[in-house]
Symmetry: C3
Subunit: 177 residues, 3 copies
């Protein structure tokens, strides 16, 4: 064994021993403000703790990733209706309870501002800055008639349930929110 | 040690070494269409990936396993009311949002059909074909006055929270949906 | 090495080998009766199975820990409104569906009584007796203008998302309910 060999082995061993970051996977299936908030708080906090965080946005959760100016989306009248009633984007999220036609959501965002709690939009941007992977669900995009043009920039490639499951199998923390 | 003995030992050793399938456990506590769908998509996808999948249906989630013709169930007037207002069965699931008295649910199912997304009923049958274990919660059955006659065929024996916890402790993925 | 040393080493080794209890962490983010119930059933069952259980109460979930006589809380009008519309305490939890202005919740509690299912209040007390750790979310307390005076006795110190994540990383079961 030459010195080079020894070094190569030592390097390989070191790489072997280098602990991989713990993984956190969140399935974000709800488009409610009171679900988007904990999703993004957990994601950014996990990333701050050095975890490798992925959020899989599916069903109503996909709305969180829509551009505010996406407009009416889809070709089918049902997809258009979804686009009208679930406008999506972080700006238009509603509370699942105590919403009072949007007043509750505004009230809660105001309270958050005054208490130095980051808004969902700020947390979404922070997630991206911190390297949190944002996966839109391909099946939901097809179902709702959404294309990448309707979505915010900087997302990962649309993925399926199989990819989410493969990731969760290796994750220390998997949550459905 | 005879040849037979050796073979027996070798077989036993091989079986010992055969990696057990990763387990996925889903607690399905909601009877909403938009929760039943991801539950069964994740379950069938997990099974397709070779996982050993169990769904524990509790509280409103138990309704997913009701027969469409279960009729009014229970002896107590409160149980009967539950039976009337929460008819259950995959046919009558409602959306948690944008339901509009059932129109939203029908609309979403139509969209799914047109986009080759399997219906909840199809996914439930597929789950059974793929060996996904479907556990009804015993406590909820008692609470709601449901017996095995009200439930679809092919379910596992009713189980309790303790069994679900024992299983989750060993599982790679545990989700509450 | 003296006899004492040897003993000390043996004791240390034995302690090292003593298996730590499996951990269960539940993030309780909902204040609905039909979420509080499974949260506390899983927590107490887990504790009965020897697990080390922690519930992190955040967002609406914090209401479960409010005293029934907390009254109107907070200084800000929005916090006061939250206090009025989300009175909290186990006594005033509502169902997320079939609530009918509180009649559904009462009906379900009556059914539970008649079927020997413990109430949420009983389960909460049992949790405390069994050593389940109850963590109020500090950020939510600030947001909603709640102080320890508004909360029931026997809670752990308010904690943040980071503490919950650290705990979940080591847990066998982590659920978001």
């Amino acid at each position: 064994m030459t010195v080079q060999d020894t070094e190569a082995v030592a390097t390989a061993a070191a790489e072997d021993e280098k602990p991989e970051a713990d993984k956190m996977v969140i399935i974000a299936a709800s488009g409610d403000l009171d679900k988007a908030w904990p999703t993004l708080i957990l994601a950014t906090t996990g990333a701050a703790y050095g975890m490798d965080v992925t959020i899989f946005f599916t069903f109503w959760g996909l709305g969180i990733l829509k551009r505010p100016d996406a407009g009416i989306t889809g070709e089918d009248w049902r997809q258009k209706m979804l686009g009208v009633f679930k406008k999506g984007s972080t700006e238009k999220l509603q509370l699942s309870t105590m919403n009072f036609g949007g007043i509750g959501a505004k009230m809660m965002q105001g309270l958050a501002d005054d208490n130095n709690v980051a808004s969902v939009q700020e947390l979404l941007e922070l997630s991206q800055d911190m390297g949190v992977k944002l996966w839109p669900c391909q099946m939901t995009m097809d179902l709702m008639g959404l294309t990448s043009e309707h979505m915010i920039d900087g997302l990962d490639k649309p993925a399926g349930a199989g990819s989410a499951i493969s990731l969760m199998k290796e994750a220390s923390i998997s949550l459905f929110i």
